[in-house]
């Protein structure tokens, strides 16, 4: 059967993408205790020193392999629970309380770290390059001030999928109807340099609940990956004419070649004339809405096959071009070629899709109305 289409699972890369990664909100690491973070197939330790700086090291002590994330913060250093070697944020062992001197080679793996937009960001590059400040995601003006609500923050484990699955969503127009239960009425992509963007307008489906709003909710969304893992999604949510500005962060850290941790947070520009508690409540509502969305995505990823050769129809987005862009983070910096970073624009034709979907939704509504009428008639006689 030579004309049977075969799935090419391909071979996933051994390395983890070069770039900035967000490990979570900075405030979660500032309690003076060491924190364990799984990332890049390793275990990391995060702690805050006396200056309030956050430090990130490989968690395994270079002495005898003790787990620093179970150690203690002593002054500026993290002390190993096994023999109390003290490690500084620069990756050097500063002190061994029972020894005459510290071996010169006592240096461990450190991850350059900084706090940005209230988040702990670390730089990862298998080539060991200095952190590239040029590709740090932009600062979000107004966020962290009284203008916006505080970040909500959620974590979802994806134990059996490569993190490229979530990046693929950038171009996946049709899944917004089936997975996020909205009509994507307008859908465009722009890839350029290290940034990949999706512009989308959508309106909720009236026939099902639990997606991105109902028929009264219109989303105008601009979502950009700055590098391989950190997305900023600016949303203008119009609910019956009441417009809210929402910022959604969607980021992830690969934990192995076939697993990742997804994190997301929402903050909302406080609408005028609305008190803080109500604004926080609105933020929480949107966070819950996206939570449902991400959980639906995760369910798909955990059950699907990896596909190196997706078969596309005319209504699909530019998966191959997106992956060509994504490739730049998996090769040595010197091997990044123009086709990975050259600007590319794509507008999906959503006209036919929406026509078919409208019809499908009409039919669903009609069937539901008929069933309700039947149930209503039954109960009158009861």
């Amino acid at each position: 059967m030579t004309d049977t289409r075969l799935l090419d699972a391909g071979t996933p890369p051994e390395r983890f993408a070069r770039g900035w990664y967000c490990l979570g909100l900075a405030r979660e690491f500032t309690d003076g205790k060491p924190h364990k973070v799984d990332a890049f197939g390793e275990k990391l330790v995060v702690w805050s020193d006396t200056q309030g700086n956050l430090n990130v090291l490989d968690a395994y002590c270079r002495h005898m392999g003790g787990d620093l994330s179970q150690g203690t913060v002593k002054g500026d250093e993290i002390a190993c629970p096994f023999h109390d070697w003290r490690w500084g944020g620069d990756g050097r062992c500063k002190q061994i309380p029972y020894a005459r001197r510290v071996p010169l080679r006592a240096r461990t793996q450190r991850y350059p770290a900084l706090v940005h937009n209230g988040m702990l960001m670390i730089w990862h590059d298998v080539e060991g390059s200095e952190p590239d400040m040029e590709v740090l995601p932009p600062e979000l003006p107004g966020i962290g001030t009284d203008e916006y609500t505080d970040w909500t923050w959620e974590v979802l484990d994806v134990p059996t999928a490569h993190c490229r699955e979530i990046v693929d969503n950038v171009v996946d127009m049709a899944h917004f109807f089936y997975i996020h239960l909205a009509f994507p009425t307008n859908f465009r992509n722009v890839f350029e340099g290290h940034v990949a963007t999706q512009f989308m307008e959508s309106v909720g489906r009236p026939d099902v609940a639990g997606g991105y709003g109902d028929q009264d909710m219109m989303l105008k969304s601009e979502a950009s990956y700055y590098g391989p893992s950190f997305m900023i999604n600016w949303l203008e949510v119009d609910y019956k004419g009441f417009v809210t500005e929402v910022v959604l962060i969607n980021c992830h850290v690969p934990t192995s070649q076939n697993s990742f941790k997804l994190q997301y947070g929402v903050c909302v520009k406080k609408p005028e004339g609305i008190d803080d508690a109500t604004a926080e409540y609105i933020g929480k509502k949107y966070s819950d809405m996206f939570k449902g969305g991400f959980e639906q995505d995760v369910h798909i990823w955990l059950n699907k096959a990896p596909v190196q050769n997706p078969l596309l129809c005319e209504e699909d987005g530019p998966v191959y071009q997106l992956r060509r862009w994504y490739e730049q983070f998996y090769v040595d910096k010197a091997d990044v070629v123009a086709e990975m970073t050259d600007r590319f624009e794509f507008e999906v034709d959503t006209t036919k899709a929406n026509e078919y979907w409208r019809k499908e939704v009409e039919e669903n509504l009609a069937r539901k109305a008929a069933e309700d009428a039947l149930a209503g008639a039954g109960s009158e006689h009861a």
Binding site: L6, E192, L312, P318, Y320, E347
Partner: protein, 100 residues
């Protein structure tokens, strides 16, 4: 070294089909940019820029100097108009070939 390595040679052919097939060169009427365009239908457009074309686009240069707004430039209106004209002139075939 490629990162995600296909195991089937046909995948390489798919990559070529989806990223390179049926591209038509369109020159901007207002600047020296030349881009590669594909249209699978009236409302679909795919535009491949090169570094050279990007450097030639006057609109993008202007947007670079705007302090407000996002880092990502929305499509150049002048180029869009040039593509529409090329379509009207019959230079760009409209329609897909088996999904690409």
């Amino acid at each position: 070294m490629a990162s995600f390595v296909p195991t089937d040679p046909e995948t390489i052919e798919d990559q070529r089909r989806y990223t390179q097939a049926r591209l038509v060169e369109v020159a901007c009427q207002d600047c020296l940019a030349v881009v590669s365009v594909k249209k699978n239908s009236d409302h679909h457009t795919s535009i491949q820029w090169s570094e050279r074309a990007l450097g030639a686009c006057a609109e993008f240069a202007r947007m670079d100097h705007e302090t407000s707004g996002r880092a990502v430039h929305t499509p150049c209106q002048r180029l869009s108009a040039s593509i529409e004209k090329a379509v009207r002139d019959g230079q760009i075939p409209i329609g897909a070939e088996d999904g690409y």
